[in-house]
């Protein structure tokens, strides 16, 4: 059937939290009322990437990219655009219009221009709950090709030659992992998908599952064929209800359509899959812990070897890959290893998705070819630092990673360049920090995370990280002593070399890298009892600048502890001994007379 218009409404978690589903519903109702429901194809997609501009609605054939759409705007879009054929310029994303008022498609706005979408290719482009949409874009063709034209060895070889490396953090060559699992002989093998996404600040796996769930199912079936497994498990964190729901819908539909089950594409290949829910433990992203968790045990890591490729789920050979890793597979099979390996750098092929967040204008999901520089991501795609603030650092790799400063902004990003600088690709969280962030506080934040998430199995991690945290707390509370920084460094080195699993082995990284690049901030805390960024509460004092104060008394009225004294129309004073540093007065002063130092 020919549609006159196609309307994409973002149904990703970001946009649905700002009513995008109500927008969709209202639009469908209005189209019905106007009697043109049949002319318009309404599509509920996954995340478009630019969540900061949500809710997002794109109207085709013009490709008008509407941002921050409100419920009230829906009628306008229907009447003026869909019926009246006039694009509503005021509603367009600000960069989707040129100065002369010409409309640009969303691919041309700076946020998307430098991106290259492979893993996210279908996210935001197809209906997330619609298997036909997926099939229309060559869905399940890669599986058909693998099953009918390729041997398992061919498939593994293609993946190996593509140069794809694991996107879950480690960067291990995917093809090799497939080969190991293939070569371990056993009647029963499994494939598993790691959708635990423990990195606090990353959401690419979530978006792929929400926006393009069939591509994960298809890739896992291909993997099953390649390594000789007939059963797959997707381990998804319970905090992702929408992803779980859409994946389940997709699995059911794929089974109905015969892409899962027996005799797939008329061959004797059989494959089925099931979702298993994580229950909120970061360490379960570690592969042996994940296996324990699926088996119904505490998610504690065990020493490797044996690797899961040899002894995995229920002691059977198991292939475990990350969501984004799988998302590349179907494209590699369809377009070939040569195509894939022509993208990226020498040792890191293809693209990487980053979750760009923190102090940056365009927060959201960004997929770039490996080798793109940090500067391009932060300033061109990300649109730079908001509110005229100064860039301070970029943190990558989450709790296992580190941070890089201004001087490294021109580093081309790949696995090895980031590791060499003491940071990490990790799963792709990329948090931008500005001058208002205190690096000691950030290091403390990550350590708090690790201490809480340590499974407690081995002492270096259980006790060591706790000691590090205590020292950091001391420092941020103004009780730091000479030698504390050195103590942190020494502890860090010991933990790195003696912890059992990756969690402990990498936990000290955020501390080490902040000490390395911001030692002066640590020293200011320890030696001068001063927090240069004005974050660490215990080290701050609120002060009223005499010349600026007009004596309006507003601050004194809000102070919960009556710490501010002064007569009307005369400069006020804060008694620092009484002040509990709540900051209420700063927010109230109309003349900016109160500062924290």
């Amino acid at each position: 059937m020919a549609y006159k218009n196609q309307v994409l409404v973002c149904g990703g978690t970001g946009c649905t939290s700002s009513s995008s589903l109500k927008i969709l519903e209202k639009m469908e109702n209005l189209l019905e009322q106007r009697g043109i429901r049949q002319d318009v194809k309404m599509v509920k997609t996954g995340c478009f990437g630019l969540c900061a501009a949500g809710p997002i609605v794109i109207v085709y054939p013009e490709g008008a990219f509407y941002a921050h759409v409100k419920l009230e705007d829906v009628e306008k879009i229907v009447d003026e655009h869909i019926i009246g054929k006039k694009i509503i310029k005021d509603l367009l994303y600000k960069e989707a219009v040129t100065e002369d008022g010409e409309v640009k498609s969303f691919e041309e706005v700076p946020f998307y221009k430098k991106q290259m979408r492979i893993a996210l290719e279908h996210c935001g482009a197809i209906g997330a709950e619609d298997i036909d949409d997926y099939i229309e874009l060559k869905g399940y063709k890669a599986l058909e090709k693998a099953l009918t034209e390729m041997t398992p060895e061919n498939v593994i070889d293609e993946v190996k030659r593509s140069g794809l490396r694991g996107r879950g953090g480690g960067g291990f060559p995917t093809g090799l992992k497939w080969e190991f699992t293939y070569k371990t002989e056993d009647e029963q093998k499994y494939v598993a998908c790691n959708a635990d996404e423990g990195d606090p600040g990353a959401f690419m796996d979530r978006s792929i599952l929400e926006g393009d769930p069939h591509c994960i199912i298809e890739a896992m079936a291909i993997a099953g064929y390649a390594v000789g497994a007939n059963q797959g498990y997707v381990y998804v964190r319970a905090e992702y209800p929408v992803a779980i729901e859409r994946l389940q819908i997709a699995i059911d539909k794929a089974r109905e359509a015969g892409y899962l089950g027996k005799n797939i594409f008329g061959t004797d290949f059989e494959f089925d899959m099931e979702i298993r829910l994580g229950a909120g433990a970061f360490v379960c992203g570690e592969e042996t812990a994940l296996i324990n968790s699926i088996e119904g045990k505490r998610g504690m890591p065990r020493p490797r070897p044996p690797f899961p490729a040899v002894k995995g789920l229920w002691n059977k050979p198991t292939l475990l890959n990350n969501v984004e890793t799988y998302a590349n597979i179907t494209k590699i099979i369809l377009k070939g290893a040569d195509w894939f390996s022509s993208i990226g750098t020498e040792k890191s092929k293809g693209t990487k998705v980053f979750a760009l967040g923190g102090k940056v204008e365009n927060t959201g999901l960004v997929e770039i070819p490996m080798g793109t520089t940090l500067r391009e991501i932060i300033f061109e795609i990300g649109g730079g630092i908001p509110n005229g603030k100064k860039f301070k650092a970029v943190q990558t790799g989450g709790p296992s990673g580190g941070c890089l400063t201004e001087e490294y902004l021109d580093t081309p990003i790949d696995y090895d360049s980031l590791t060499a600088l003491g940071s990490m690709m990790g799963s792709g969280g990329m948090i931008i920090l500005d001058e208002d962030n205190c690096m000691v506080d950030i290091a403390k934040f990550f350590l708090e995370f690790t201490v809480e998430e340590s499974c407690g199995k081995c002492p270096p991690c259980r006790i060591g990280t706790k000691r590090m945290l205590e020292t950091l707390e001391k420092i941020t509370e103004g009780k730091g002593e000479k030698g504390d920084i050195e103590k942190l460094e020494k502890l860090a080195e010991n933990i790195k070399t003696s912890a059992l699993c990756g969690l402990g082995q990498t936990a000290p990284n955020p501390v080490l890298s902040t000490i390395k690049r911001f030692r002066h901030e640590y020293e200011a805390h320890v030696n001068e009892k001063r927090c240069p960024s004005g974050v660490c509460q215990a080290l701050l004092e609120y002060k009223i600048t005499e010349d600026k104060c007009k004596g309006c008394t507003l601050c004194a009225k809000v102070c919960p502890v009556n710490a501010i004294k002064g007569n009307v129309k005369e400069a006020h004073v804060i008694d620092t001994n009484t002040c509990i540093k709540c900051g209420a007065c700063v927010a109230k002063c109309p003349f900016g007379a109160i500062s924290k130092q």
Binding site: E239, P241, L277, G280, A281, E295, I431
Partner: protein, 158 residues
């Protein structure tokens, strides 16, 4: 007073879930997950029932139930307010939001209000980082928060 969740009806639901997973490999996690949903907790009575039906020692179940942060031994409030303290949210001031809520509803982080209405928890990243800082109230997600939004959101559930 906290609500009574140990109803006959809820135990019947649990039984249903147990039968569904019995015989499958690795039934404990899915059963606990659904039990947590049904009862709002996995108190020891519930664990006992699961232990008997699935033939897994109670000690082992207790070990699992206390390992994962999604499972709680006490019932949670009617509304669980989860403030994200993931990295993206933290650097954009999530701590202020959580402090403000804690003050507004007079509940410490990790605790439930006396009337059993609100539980306040600090959650990990919920994957809506593009909208940081973010909070959830049961299934509803609120993003791009400032401390000033808190009152308005809470009033919807009071």
């Amino acid at each position: 007073m906290a609500r009574d969740v140990f109803t006959k009806e809820n135990f019947e639901k649990l039984d249903h879930v147990i039968q569904k997973y019995k015989g499958k490999s690795g039934p404990l996690m899915p059963v606990l997950t659904e039990a947590q949903k049904i009862f709002g907790c996995v108190a020891i009575e519930i664990q006992k029932k699961i232990s008997e039906e699935l033939n897994i020692p109670l000690a082992e179940i207790y070990g699992v139930a206390t390992f994962y942060s999604q499972f709680s031994l006490q019932p949670k409030g009617e509304y669980v307010i989860g403030v994200c303290l993931g990295t993206a949210c933290y650097v954009k001031g999530a701590q202020d939001i959580i402090n403000k809520i804690s003050k507004e509803i007079n509940v410490e982080v990790g605790k439930t209000s006396e009337d059993g209405k609100f539980t306040l928890v600090a959650t990990r990243c919920i994957g809506a980082c593009g909208l940081a800082p973010v909070l959830t109230v049961n299934e509803d997600v609120y993003g791009k928060l400032t401390a000033d939004d808190v009152e308005g959101i809470l009033s919807k559930y009071k």
